[in-house]
Symmetry: D2
Subunit: 353 residues, 4 copies
Amino acid sequence: MNAVHRIEIPSILEVNNNILGSVGAYIERAGINNVVVLFGEGIRDLFGEKIMESILSRKSLNLLETYDYDDIKLENLMPKAFTIPYKTDAVVGVGGGKVLDAAKYIAFLNKLPFISIPTSTSNDGFSSSGCSLIINGRRTSVHASMPFGIIVDLDVLKNAPMKFIYSGLGDIISKITAVYDWYFEESNNAAKVDDFAAMLAKKSVNSIVRMPYTQITENFFLKEMVDSLTMSGIAMQIADSSAPASGSEHLISHALDKLLENPQLHGIQVGIATYLMSRVQEHRYERVEKFLTDTGFFAFVETLKMKVEDFQKAIDLAPSIKPNRYTYLHVPENREKAKVLLKSDNILKRILV
Amino acid sequence: MNAVHRIEIPSILEVNNNILGSVGAYIERAGINNVVVLFGEGIRDLFGEKIMESILSRKSLNLLETYDYDDIKLENLMPKAFTIPYKTDAVVGVGGGKVLDAAKYIAFLNKLPFISIPTSTSNDGFSSSGCSLIINGRRTSVHASMPFGIIVDLDVLKNAPMKFIYSGLGDIISKITAVYDWYFEESNNAAKVDDFAAMLAKKSVNSIVRMPYTQITENFFLKEMVDSLTMSGIAMQIADSSAPASGSEHLISHALDKLLENPQLHGIQVGIATYLMSRVQEHRYERVEKFLTDTGFFAFVETLKMKVEDFQKAIDLAPSIKPNRYTYLHVPENREKAKVLLKSDNILKRILV
Amino acid sequence: MNAVHRIEIPSILEVNNNILGSVGAYIERAGINNVVVLFGEGIRDLFGEKIMESILSRKSLNLLETYDYDDIKLENLMPKAFTIPYKTDAVVGVGGGKVLDAAKYIAFLNKLPFISIPTSTSNDGFSSSGCSLIINGRRTSVHASMPFGIIVDLDVLKNAPMKFIYSGLGDIISKITAVYDWYFEESNNAAKVDDFAAMLAKKSVNSIVRMPYTQITENFFLKEMVDSLTMSGIAMQIADSSAPASGSEHLISHALDKLLENPQLHGIQVGIATYLMSRVQEHRYERVEKFLTDTGFFAFVETLKMKVEDFQKAIDLAPSIKPNRYTYLHVPENREKAKVLLKSDNILKRILV
Amino acid sequence: MNAVHRIEIPSILEVNNNILGSVGAYIERAGINNVVVLFGEGIRDLFGEKIMESILSRKSLNLLETYDYDDIKLENLMPKAFTIPYKTDAVVGVGGGKVLDAAKYIAFLNKLPFISIPTSTSNDGFSSSGCSLIINGRRTSVHASMPFGIIVDLDVLKNAPMKFIYSGLGDIISKITAVYDWYFEESNNAAKVDDFAAMLAKKSVNSIVRMPYTQITENFFLKEMVDSLTMSGIAMQIADSSAPASGSEHLISHALDKLLENPQLHGIQVGIATYLMSRVQEHRYERVEKFLTDTGFFAFVETLKMKVEDFQKAIDLAPSIKPNRYTYLHVPENREKAKVLLKSDNILKRILV
């Protein structure tokens, strides 16, 4: 008989204003003595000094090495992973998705804790145990470990381009269609829903879509967004699968990544696909519409001039991305329905060209 | 260096309508073969047949024994715990707080999984690892284990007296003042906040206080309430303390339990104290007021004719209940402020006599 | 699919000469700050000062309370458990089997680490997660937790009466017949052997029965004995059952405990029964005979004038002690064979009257 | 305060005669449904049919894919790791050290259980969580996971060339000098010994060096050897370091690997170095000498014509292999002492040229 389910959660979770200067203090307090830091492209110039200073100023914390490195090609990342100083007892990553994935994987391969310091939160990668690497030339999701620490400076997020915030919101709203797809899979005996993971995923989205705010760059709202993305990362870990956070809407985005020369940010594509799929599922679409309209997500998307044709192709390609799953889009009728909606739904007609 | 934080969560979490008949199926699917069931007072007559039938109907699941037992006096509970059949591999509790605590503790003492089937959710006990027993004549909180399973039939909750729902809501809203007290403690170097536990506790309350509903007995709202109480239980487990879910407002309720011949339901007292403390903390009190007003909590409390004097005494007694903590009420000025509010605040003046 | 098997082992394991004075240092180094100490009967006078001094001399370690307490009656132990200071973060037990069981259980009920300081090692209780309490008037084995720390001063063991050492040796040699019974059970589909637990149990006995020594009170030999008993405790924990350490030979001893006004030490009875059962099993009996002869165990037993009749009755009673098991003694023919051996085997004829 | 120490141990441990035909049964019983199998060079021809048959014959076990693959070059192994079927829920490795390391790492990268089926046990790699890969052209030890299963067919070991058995014995005896080096490090404040790991490492060697046997290829002896190597693997995992199993004697062997065109088997080099270091440490060298003489290890080594000069160079190089450690060989005087012994010790003079 399997005992109570054990899961891993971050030991450090700091989400607040102007805290880059406290990074060293948070890490030291967790009992870590020797770290290496990876900076994403251009990040060192922006935040490097502040972070390194905060580490160097701690009595029992040493900065063994810093790297400007966000190469996620496996063939480069792997050997690199084994060149870090043997004394290292934690790997810190600072920047966007790529450097966080690189640092997360270097930590995993060395069985070391990973400390995640996202400078933009365009998706839940900063808080999940998964990693997206380029293997044999293709984007591939691989296993790594849950971040030991997550440190998010809201002022940094605020000053990042708006598209990252919209992308984060698009990734959060997707839990609505993702969880619904998961239950659909279960009802078709194609999966077993982990009730607790599903509950957390739902809470993560419900707590933000229902909250009042004046503008999406206000602290309270941004913090809620970060917390929600964090919970989404935990939900995947509990389920030991991406299912609670990623359904048919994610398959459409993955398909677009394959089809397009220059795809848009993950969460942007996911957000649009979430609205589409919520209409296909006929489940909570008013809520999705209201959230993506009120936050300005749709208005922003409108400026991107994304093509209806691309979405049509993506819908057809989607099921083949994860043949072992059984989402709404794995049913031919629903693909047709989705393609019809692309041309008939007023919002989609407006935001896509 | 401490590794990633490991926590325990329920393996079974079923919250839905009319699912008492599936209890056996849920338990069997989790790989359990032999169970004993404890029923609270009067519970066997109401739901016993349905639950036992659902267990007996499973091929690989045996019902070894059933008991009508909700005695939480340690001197009776302990020896009782060691009389269950040696083949037992899970203990099921069905009913209110007392039988759940009794079953949870019997499971703990036998290192067996506990399956929690609350017939009313007036507080987060059904989902927490803690246990409230009577030891040497006094209510005492002791350690036990996280429930392995939580099964909640919404139709059962709906048909329970309304006071239980109000009590559940009162216990949820208290996370607002509890978490605020916790940060207050940290800022006074009297505690270390577990950021993740605090985040979950906040999500648990935010997701429900912000949700739209027509009446509090509707499925969607009740499910959200149960999920929130469940998350609150998890938050305490993560923090390995009751701090994320219980602050000054709980101390007032504990004090009332000591002072009164016939105290009200835990969550009822806590809800009132939460409103009071949110005014003292000057933190989110509009939100608390709106929630307790809209749900009808205040209107219900008004019918109870609770006494201002009792709250005055409770405020003075509160800090001594947990001398090792440092909540707002541990500061003399705040106790005075609270007692003034009892007489000056319009809502409190209305609901208390 | 169940993941890799996780087990718990002691974090502190110190077995050496004259180390009572270092107890405080070992505990402090493990990160513990506040302890309570339980002393068995007469133990405080012998070792109390030295141990308390070693604790009080540590800068970051506090001695909150000390007790002279080795009452293992559940009805007394339970309420007692909840009277220890709330600041306690570890429970230390010093003395023989009873105080260790009492302290171990108090620690378990408070979810605190237990530090085991045996002054005699007449069985593997000091290193096991199990606890032997008196419940409803009967000796009962209950679950507790693995000791967090085990500290054994060899000089203390040396100065304890010889019977305790002989008892320890009797308990170790029993792994030979116990493991053999376990495989016998498996071959009869009455149990599933945990291969790793069985291997550890065998190693624990093989490493000592094969070692050279001049006298059993020499450091090297005593250390090996303590280590072997420790491994035996771990083996039970891995198997989540006493099977790897306790078979038909233990049933005979348990039966003698029931039958006799004044039973002998557990390990003494077990040792004799192990020799008997090794003859019944026709497995490694020369090894058992050589070990119990060379160490002087048999010679010591001879002085006790234990009765053949008692063993006859015990053999008949044995299977009923654990009806759910299926050892050699659960087969009628083997009980007959055992009783015949009691009268025909030269050694048994000599050591029993 | 850190809780009780949790470690991982294999769930499957089968060491017996003629059990290759039961491999499928063992795996299925552990709840695994879909496996891939890696065979080392030439292994498929020898044992492939028997093992595949045993898997294919199980109702709920599928053989998704088999590979002839024992390339441990990271640049080849990594991408390979991500080409296994997505349904895989365990990776099985069959053969010598290289294929086991390859399979172990592929399992680790996919977070899957690894089942270790060594056809020769020349060192403890088959039972350890570590992995020896070729990274940037150099042999490098990296982290992986503890084997989920270990299945050893003694008949297979028996029919492997004798050198593998001698190598296994050489690796076991090294625990004597390794543990002594570890305590030396601690006494010089260069390390903290994990007492439990040290105890297990000692038991692993003591249980075999003291056992009687007629020839080293007899079942009882071989099983003891496999069990000891398994325990050594566990000891390293408990210590989360190779220290309990690898000290100055291993550094000499690593140095020889660097210096020599064609180094001998790991355990052969280690065994010789263990005898040398036991003389340097002046600790249990009679025991080491007796074991390596009686088993025929020295006689076998004599036939290899290994050069004194190589050992001299290796002794000088040894400390630089692990600069962060502080073994006996890290002390200049001891290196001199060792080099003198190479020329003065009668055994070394005989077995080296």
